[in-house]
Symmetry: C2
Subunit: 356 residues, 2 copies
């Protein structure tokens, strides 16, 4: 790593600056505390020369290359797995700390998987010079669950997701918008298979998403599990440092633009109470407790989209199990679920470099 | 009860014939085996005189009154709780067996709660002359779970629902259609609270439903539970005859017109296997197994709407628990979830009367 000059603010590179997460990242970097010196924007050669606004100033996008990382202290990657797999080690070899939002390194034993509110110290142990950012579904619940775990001791999670179209990137959003236009003013959605016939191209989804729920995200793994479901299990275990945590997840896409929701049944070592859980969630950094259903207060994706925290509502103690809580959580999958957590990890490194 | 004349086909009354479920009921009665003599259509006085088609013939709707039940053998009720509470006992007192689709009698110890594929014999023990039809959410999973229970012995259910707008009746459907028209061609759904501002009236839902997920159905009960969630627990226990079954449900409304979906984590007494579960679900009456995600085969609401069975897919053994299965189920909430199951119960009684 480049020896830090305490007088100099560190240089940040944003790789994938023109993508869906990259766009949110520039917005986030423009509103958070300004810890960075230069912010360098990097993308594929076909985006080079494009000008994007960050911190109120136009910055020209440069093409991804080895030299693009010269002088960079922290390089954030918001690119597909295979691009990260190739280029994050290049950035690290050039002296940058790579903070990667792809799935390429998350389960690598030599790469920490970091959620600053939960396991910030893990970021210091990075033998490959790479830190991974968790999957957006895991990130939509893990801050709140980490806080509850610290109090009650987590033993088991049963998770059902309500995932947004933008989890599949801009093509996901465009597909859903197009399908909405096609069903507006019609009676579609009431006869078997009528949507499949009417909407045509299903874009990145394996079935029509409008007026539907699609219980599939990712690729097929052993035992009928989807890759998304196993990520929730494996990443939760790694972030919480609980290699024996029992996790069952069912991941389902629903017609929402942005913000993932999760119904979580969490079983703990110790007896739980709603009152104590409320107290913990009210104090937890990065969490908003919004739980008063009698007054119509529970999180929905549209309350949460565009905000940073994990919102938690519908906190109930299981009627038949004093060790279990049932919760409904929402998190903006493009912010905390991707760009924000990456930015927070990068800021941890900036603070470390400043501290010398 | 009226003494049955084996030469005469029994008389059926449909109370609430003009409602959302009543409409589906007339369709179902027109396509199932014709076990009924007279089919009498009953509704509120303001609908009296209206003509509806059943079994290909126009039938005039008559107003609800005590005399309307004279000569009726089986009276099906698809009306609000308070109407059933008043009139089902009237029908029973006039000699009919009342089959009630409201929540008025479901937890009454003297009223059986019947799903013919699961507990048909329970229908014979009806001291009040009333039989209840379960809630649509319970009905969307219980046939498949009953079959698995018979093999493996059910111990615990964790349920997350993806419920359709028509669960809130025609006003629910109209509200969602109206909201879809309002968001089509816009960028709505991407800024905090923009839907709440744009869609105005949320109809029977406590928040905008389009491009959203609303974790609330029913009324507030003790401990922060919704009435819908407790129905799933209490009705599952009663139907399966398992008073100690542990059940946690989180009920969520999503922007789908018709067909409820459920992600279910089911824990059994005995070790499970996907192969054995597949075998059971393939053989179970009233169940369609649709589970080959590698070929894009899993149920979605739009595959299932308008069909009778419970569809089951995504059958997985929990990675960390050899006693647990994870499943995704879909059922048309207006058919098996309401009208069809009521018709099936009525047919059980018709067969009983014919048998003398």
């Amino acid at each position: 790593m480049t020896a830090a000059d305490p007088a100099r603010k560190p240089t940040l590179a944003v790789v994938g600056a023109t993508g869906a997460v990259g766009t949110v990242m520039l917005d986030i970097l423009s509103t958070r505390e300004n810890v960075w010196g230069e912010i360098r924007l990097i993308a594929s050669p076909r985006s080079a020369g494009k000008k994007l606004v960050v911190r109120g100033e136009e910055v020209e996008v440069i093409a991804l290359s080895e030299e693009a990382f010269d002088g960079v202290d922290v390089a954030m990657f918001d690119v597909p797995d295979e691009v990260s797999a190739q280029w994050a080690p290049v950035a690290a070899a050039r002296g940058a700390v790579a903070v990667d939002n792809s799935g390429a390194f998350r389960m690598d034993d030599d790469v920490p998987l970091v959620v600053p509110e939960v396991n910030a110290p893990a970021a210091r142990n990075r033998p490959r010079g790479i830190i991974s950012n968790p999957n957006c579904t895991t990130l939509s619940m893990i801050v709140a669950l980490g806080a509850l775990h610290a109090e009650f001791g987590l033993k088991e999670l049963v998770v059902a997701s309500y995932q947004a179209a933008s989890g599949a990137g801009q093509p996901g959003v465009d597909t859903l918008r197009d399908q909405i236009a096609k069903v507006a003013g019609t009676e579609l959605g009431t006869a078997t298979g009528d949507l499949r016939a009417a909407v045509g191209d299903t874009g990145p989804f394996p079935a029509p998403l409008v007026l539907n729920a699609v219980p599939w995200a990712g690729s097929l793994k052993e035992g009928g599990w989807s890759s998304e479901e196993l990520k929730v299990r494996n990443e939760s275990r790694k972030i919480l440092g609980l290699p024996d945590l029992r996790v069952s997840a069912t991941c389902v896409r629903i017609p929402v633009i942005t913000t993932h929701s999760l119904a979580v049944h969490a079983v703990f070592e110790n007896e739980v109470s709603v009152e104590r859980a409320h107290g913990i969630l009210r104090e937890a950094p990065g969490v908003v407790l919004y739980d008063n259903p009698g007054a119509g207060e529970f999180p929905t994706p549209n309350d949460v989209v565009g905000t940073d925290p994990t919102w938690v509502g519908r906190v109930r103690r299981a009627v038949d199990d004093p060790l279990a809580l049932d919760l409904f959580l929402c998190g903006d999958n493009l912010r905390k679920g991707a760009a924000l957590n990456t930015a927070q990890i990068a800021e941890l490194i900036a603070a470390e470099l400043s501290a010398g």
